[in-house]
């Protein structure tokens, strides 16, 4: 059995010591291209340990398991030798070796031995990496954006593509982006679909505009039909009441949805769904009053049944009422709507939105959706979630209970939408030309030349165009029209390696060469936009201006300010910080009732918005670690207990100190992805900080050590901290966990959903009772550094700003180059960080030095 590798150097041992900066930032020279053995360490650490603890079984006399260690070379560059050393590390870390009945090394000594070996394995591994950018396939996001910019249709054709395999934490790494026959099939099918949507023939299809008044349904529920253009449509007003022509929805339930279904549209294409609606939001006093009425009735009914228990019923009443008076959940926001589409039996959520219009001024809301000719339906559901906590779960569905009410006037479906005919996508590809009606073949050549020069992101060569023209002519005769025939070579363009890959040809074995203007424009646009270059970049590529560093810098600045830069925030920050994992392992509903879909969407938007704010407003990058502001919406403001924020848009607001928010580590997104759905995981949180913010990977645990114990003997309410302590008592575990866990334990005040807490709940369904243990968020690192709570952690992180900035710069380089970094890249990373520090610590300054670096501008 092969061991699991501890691939990366565990520099965490020294993170809070003096050595760390040396290793990360200053010790390495540019000529450190190959791995050079550390002979002093080998002689000082490894050999004595082997002599004392291994050689009796793995030496000249015996070679148990066919392994001899006294002669195993200090040559980590050799994969076979390295794999044997890796096995040694794992068996020592896993307490398998030396065997139980042999003399045991002191834990500290074994730790030093294993750490040295792991560090060498990591160094050798990084030295082996290619530091050339390799031919890189577009990933899913890049494919969608490129199609949008190239063809002008925006409908996420990559939805059916498999996930792209990541490397180094990112899914745009050329080496890892493989391709399979199935993907070729999918690229081909997508190409046909894209062209069918983009290119049209004949007159503009007739548009429909259907409006439905739900209250027209006099029978109630899902049993009333209306006719529209030959369709016999089921119009459902849900089991709801009606006021002044508005359908009033009180809460979400299977029988409360409003919608229309069972129709087939005559034309496929993009449609708009509109609805006119408003909300009626009860104030806290009204909520308490409604709760009081229901609770009083229950109390009185119970007391009538069991008069001798009156005192308990009274107590229960007071307790429950207090909940409605004090819990933040009853400071309601506006009602919310989830709009879904059904196509051919498959439901799909189109979007969610707050209904922020007051009853006095209802508004029209809209969302766009693609429809096919399949049997279709549209459903509008109430989506405001009042947490189902113990006190309210039985009365949530009662109409008397005050909740945000959704009032819907009408729903409308209009389309297919064609602001012009033929549509813009058609005109872009099949543009007007003098040749258009004169010479079909010459026009086809013109169309292909222009399309290929954009699809291949460089001028198309004559022979490439002629080859496609052959395809056109070959199929022209059997096609009913020019449009149908030209789709064939165009589909071939979209299946071509020149389109699917970012191609940068190189002379074999040549030294790195400067990229030409087109290649540079392409790298730049896939870095900052996750898409192809625009006209301006193509122009500057053609005249060579882009190769001037000043122009390159101006372009990067322009691109960061462009809305397309949103893709960079989503793809870079989303993967660097792990936001794509939000919701993969969500906090359990019964334990964390406030974690709902709206919160989940909001916590991702918070972190993206935070990164974008710092990037675009030119704020000091250290704000990422600690900031005096947060980027939140009303939903998050309620969750975080920050008053005065109204509306669903993420915006920057000052963070009051008592909110304990401000900085990435205080954000619910990070708290929730570093928990396991039922409880916090200080280990995962510590690892996350080491990897993401400090740039050192503590590696995988040596073996599956299992879940921490649910109960600790002798302790009535054992906290996660105490349960973890048991686990760490094993010396082998402690060696690593002493360096990891304190970082995570400092964040214990945030629960698994990211909510602030002072005590760890041990009551029914995780509720906090009066005597539950107070959170201990103190931390002590192996070097003796002590700190407390998230504020203490942030102060420590700020002291390590160089580690953080190096980590950030390394991640940006990795993402920008589309390859993992090697040792030889480190001086460049360091130089970029220095330049950034000279320039007010701006993320934008860091980005500019990256795009102007030799690494970025050469192949």
């Amino acid at each position: 059995m092969r061991p699991r590798f501890l691939i990366f150097a565990p520099v965490f041992g020294t993170v809070f010591g003096a050595l760390a900066l040396g290793l990360m930032a200053t010790n390495l020279q540019a000529q450190d291209l190959a791995h050079r053995p550390d002979t002093a360490g080998f002689a000082g650490v490894v050999q004595p340990f082997i002599r004392d603890h291994c050689v009796s079984c793995h030496g000249p006399e015996k070679q148990k398991g066919k392994l001899r260690l006294d002669t195993l070379a200090n040559n980590f560059a050799d994969p076979l030798v390295a794999s044997k050393w890796a096995e040694v590390v794992n068996s020592v870390n896993g307490h398998e070796m030396p065997p139980e009945d042999e003399k045991q090394p002191p834990a500290e000594r074994a730790g030093k031995f294993a750490d040295w070996l792991a560090a060498e394995l990591g160094r050798a591994e990084i030295a082996k990496r290619s530091t050339r950018v390799v031919l890189r396939r577009m990933n899913r996001a890049e494919y969608d954006n490129t199609i949008r910019d190239l063809v002008g249709v925006d409908f996420r054709p990559s939805e059916k593509f498999p996930e792209d395999p990541p490397a180094g934490g990112f899914d745009n790494i050329g080496q890892a982006l493989s391709i399979s026959p199935m993907q070729v099939e999918l690229y081909y099918a997508a190409a046909r679909q894209i062209l069918d949507r983009a290119l049209v023939e004949g007159p503009q299809p007739a548009a429909i505009k259907w409006r439905f008044e739900p209250e027209e349904n006099t029978e109630g529920g899902d049993r009333y039909r209306v006719k529209r253009d030959g369709n016999n449509i089921l119009l459902n007003d849900g089991e709801n009441s009606t006021e002044n022509g508005f359908t009033v929805v009180h809460h979400e339930s299977w029988n409360k949805g409003i919608g229309f279904r069972g129709f087939n549209l005559a034309e496929e294409g993009e449609y708009v769904i509109r609805f006119r609606a408003a909300g009626r939001v009860p104030a806290r006093a009204a909520v308490v009053a409604s709760a009081r009425a229901i609770l009083e009735k229950r109390r009185d009914d119970e007391t009538a049944k069991n008069p001798k228990d009156k005192v308990y019923h009274d107590q229960q009443f007071e307790r429950d009422l207090k909940h409605y008076e004090t819990h933040r959940s009853y400071d309601y926001g506006p009602p919310r709507v989830k709009l879904s589409q059904h196509l051919g039996g498959t439901p799909r959520v189109l979007g969610e939105m707050d209904i922020d219009a007051p009853e006095t001024a209802p508004k029209t809301y809209e969302i766009r959706a693609s429809f096919t000719k399949q049997n279709a339906g549209v459903e509008l559901q109430y989506a405001y979630s009042v947490p189902r906590s113990l006190e309210n779960f039985w009365m949530q569905g009662k109409d008397e209970f005050a909740r945000p009410l959704l009032l819907v006037d009408w729903i409308e479906l209009e389309g297919p939408l064609h602001p012009q005919w033929p549509p813009a996508s058609h005109r872009r590809v099949l543009f007007d030309s003098l040749l258009k009606d004169k010479d079909e073949k010459a026009y086809a050549r013109e169309v292909l030349t222009r399309f290929m020069s954009r699809a291949y992101r460089r001028p198309a060569r004559v022979e490439e165009v002629e080859a496609k023209l052959v395809l056109f002519e070959k199929l022209r005769a059997e096609k009913p029209s020019f449009v149908e025939a030209i789709k064939v070579p165009l589909a071939a363009v979209l299946a071509s390696p020149h389109f699917l890959y970012l191609v940068e040809p190189e002379a074999p074995a040549a030294q790195p060469r400067k990229l030409n203007g087109y290649e540079l424009a392409t790298r730049l646009s896939y870095f900052l936009w996750s898409s192809m270059p625009d006209e301006e970049l193509f122009r500057l590529a053609a005249n060579g201006e882009l190769l001037k560093p000043a122009v390159l810098g101006q372009q990067a600045t322009r691109m960061i300010a462009d809305p397309k830069n949103e893709a960079f925030v989503k793809n870079f920050a989303g993967q660097w910080l792990g936001l794509r994992k939000v919701g993969a392992n969500p906090p359990a509903k019964n334990l964390y009732p406030e974690y709902d879909r709206h919160l989940e969407i909001s916590i991702v938007r918070e972190t993206e918005g935070f990164f974008a704010e710092i990037l675009r407003r030119d704020l000091d990058a250290r704000n990422l670690l600690k900031s005096d502001f947060v980027t939140i919406n009303e939903r998050l403001a309620r969750f975080y207990g920050i008053p005065g924020v109204k509306g669903d848009a993420i915006r920057r607001v000052p963070a009051p100190p008592e909110s304990h928010r401000g900085g990435i580590v205080t954000q619910a997104s990070i708290q929730s992805i570093t928990s396991n759905g039922t409880r916090t995981s200080p280990v995962v949180r510590g690892t996350w900080i080491l990897k993401t913010l400090l740039g050192s990977d503590p590696g995988l645990p040596v073996a599956n050590v299992g879940e921490i114990a649910s109960k600790v003997p002798g302790i009535d309410k054992a906290t996660v901290r105490q349960r973890l302590q048991i686990h760490r008592e094993a010396a082998a575990c402690a060696r690593c966990h002493d360096k990891i866990d304190p970082l995570g334990l400092a964040m214990e005040n945030y629960n698994a959903a990211g909510e602030w807490r002072d005590r760890e709940g041990h009551g029914y369904e995780g509720r906090i009772d009066a005597n539950d243990p107070i959170i201990d968020a103190s931390a002590k690192m192996p070097d003796g550094t002590e700190f407390k709570g998230v504020e203490g952690l942030q102060a420590q992180l700020l002291k390590k700003e160089d580690l953080f900035l190096n980590a950030l710069a390394s991640q940006l380089y990795t993402y920008g180059l589309g390859r993992e970094l090697g040792f030889s890249d480190r001086p460049a990373v360091r130089a970029s960080v220095e330049a950034m520090k000279r320039n007010r610590y701006l993320v934008r300054a860091l980005l500019l030095t990256i795009v102007q670096s030799d690494l970025f501008t050469t192949k």
């Binding site: 691939i7 031919l135 996930e163 990541p166 490397a167 080496q175 299977w254 051919g344 064939v488 993969a584």
Partner: protein, 449 residues
């Protein structure tokens, strides 16, 4: 809140009037007023028409099981069914319980579905965060898939492929690329059994010819590009070249099948509108997907199926339970009891499927004797709510005609056990694939065959 089941016009009524093979699309009037699916009224056939061939279905349940109630306390052929396995008692002589097994490279957590049929070391390739390898079903499909219209089927409760380490599919091709699953019963049924428009034969052939022209063209372009590239780039482009060539071969295969009509199948009783993500519909959805699998085998439409019943971590139990939360039971007796309930409810679905296979006669034996059913999870929540890849819950049913031995508990020491790949190799061989290698298999599993 109990939804009422309305009685809409039954599908059978409609089909009688229209002729059995014309099944879909469905008429609005047939939809029950409630949006929920009704329990299935599907009945298996007494006799199958096709020539008996080996078939296999791999069924995966997520989040492990209550292992305490799952593992029988006694071994061998005289073993006593465990409380959970009692659910399958009527099929006792037709399945084996395998315990103590696992993939040596598996890392636990919720990556079980990623490696269940591949046995891969997902972090084996330096420079990549994740690489998978071919799954057993695809190895089989590569060898025998050409004999059926669909070389294999992939079914899952969330469609698509999902994310690395939280895979929505059990199937991975030769390059380790995940193959997307289908979760919509209606779409699956249409794909398998609803005939293509007969008039479109010529059009279809033209479409294939056109596709080949395009593939030829891009292949030419790639070859020209290859000459301009350095070594590392050439290796990447090599993947593209190989994939395009393989795609051309597949087009040829599709052409070969074009004149063979799809099997005619009645959709009577099938709840094709069941939704996998709906707590109420879960059992119906599992049933209908297994019914379609049964029909696909019966008609020799495919011989290889993978079916991920629920995705790891977020997945629902058969009744919509929060299965993942229960898997973190921490040894809590109440949660373990609920977990065992989920396990039994799942096994009831399996039991029903086995009964279908058993009750259908095929060449003098039952269909079950010709069909291998591998059922289990890639995770073990242990006695404390671990997420371990060792001592996985696993059972193999059917395939008696090909020499699989049943009615036994094959217990292994979880510290020194043969790799799980040995089970996969056994099945692969019984499917008629001549190989003695699969992943880290050391041979077939002793005692199973």
């Amino acid at each position: 809140m109990n939804p009422l089941f309305h009685t809409p016009l039954s599908r059978r009524t409609v089909l009688r009037g229209l002729g059995a093979s014309l099944a879909l699309p469905f008429l609005e009037a047939m939809l029950p007023r409630s949006v929920y699916a009704a329990p299935s009224t599907f009945k298996p056939l007494a006799k199958a028409g096709a020539k008996p061939t080996p078939r296999v279905i791999f069924c995966y349940v997520s989040n492990g099981v209550n292992i305490i109630d799952w593992v029988p306390t006694t071994k061998g052929t005289e073993y006593e069914l465990s409380p959970t396995l009692q659910t399958l008692k009527e099929h006792r002589s037709n399945f084996s319980v395998l315990t103590g097994l696992g993939h040596p490279h598996a890392t636990g957590g919720h990556s079980g579905a990623d490696t269940w049929l591949t046995g891969a070391d997902l972090r084996a390739v330096p420079g990549k965060d994740y690489t998978n390898t071919i799954s057993a079903d695809q190895l089989i499909a590569e060898k025998i898939g050409a004999q059926t219209r669909f070389p294999s089927l992939e079914i899952g409760d969330l469609s698509g492929t999902g994310a690395a380490l939280h895979s929505h599919t059990l199937s991975f091709d030769r390059n380790g690329t995940p193959l997307p699953t289908e979760n919509n019963p209606q779409r699956l049924f249409e794909r398998l059994f609803v005939p293509d428009d007969a008039a479109s034969r010529e059009a279809t052939l033209k479409r294939y010819a056109e596709k080949r022209s395009i593939l030829d063209d891009v292949l030419g372009e790639a070859k020209a590009l290859d000459k301009k590239l350095g070594k590392a780039d050439q290796a990447k482009l090599g993947e593209y070249l190989a994939s395009v060539r393989e795609t051309e071969l597949r087009v040829q295969r599709q052409v070969d099948w074009i004149d063979v009509p799809k099997a005619k199948v009645e959709s009577a009783g099938l709840q094709l509108n069941s939704k996998p993500g709906d707590a109420h519909d879960r059992p119906m959805w599992l049933d209908v997907m297994l019914e379609i699998s049964y029909l696909a085998f019966l008609t020799d439409t495919t011989r290889v199926i993978t079916f991920e019943w629920a995705r790891e971590a977020g997945g629902y139990g058969p009744g919509g339970e929060n299965h993942h939360e229960l898997s973190h039971h921490g040894g809590d007796a109440g949660m373990l009891k609920k977990l065992a309930g989920v396990d039994r409810a799942y096994l009831e679905r399996l039991n029903r499927f086995l009964t279908f296979l058993k009750s259908t006669e095929e060449g003098g034996r039952s269909m079950l004797d010709h069909t291998m059913v591998v059922y289990g999870s890639g995770m073990n929540s242990g006695e404390r709510g671990d997420h371990s890849p060792k001592n996985l819950p696993l059972l193999v049913a059917g395939g008696g005609a090909w020499g699989l031995k049943h009615g036994q508990h094959l217990a292994h020491d979880e510290k020194a056990h043969p790799p799980l790949a040995n089970v996969l190799l056994t099945v692969t061989q019984k499917m008629g694939v001549e190989t003695d290698k699969f992943q880290d298999a050391t041979g077939t599993l002793t005692g199973l065959a």
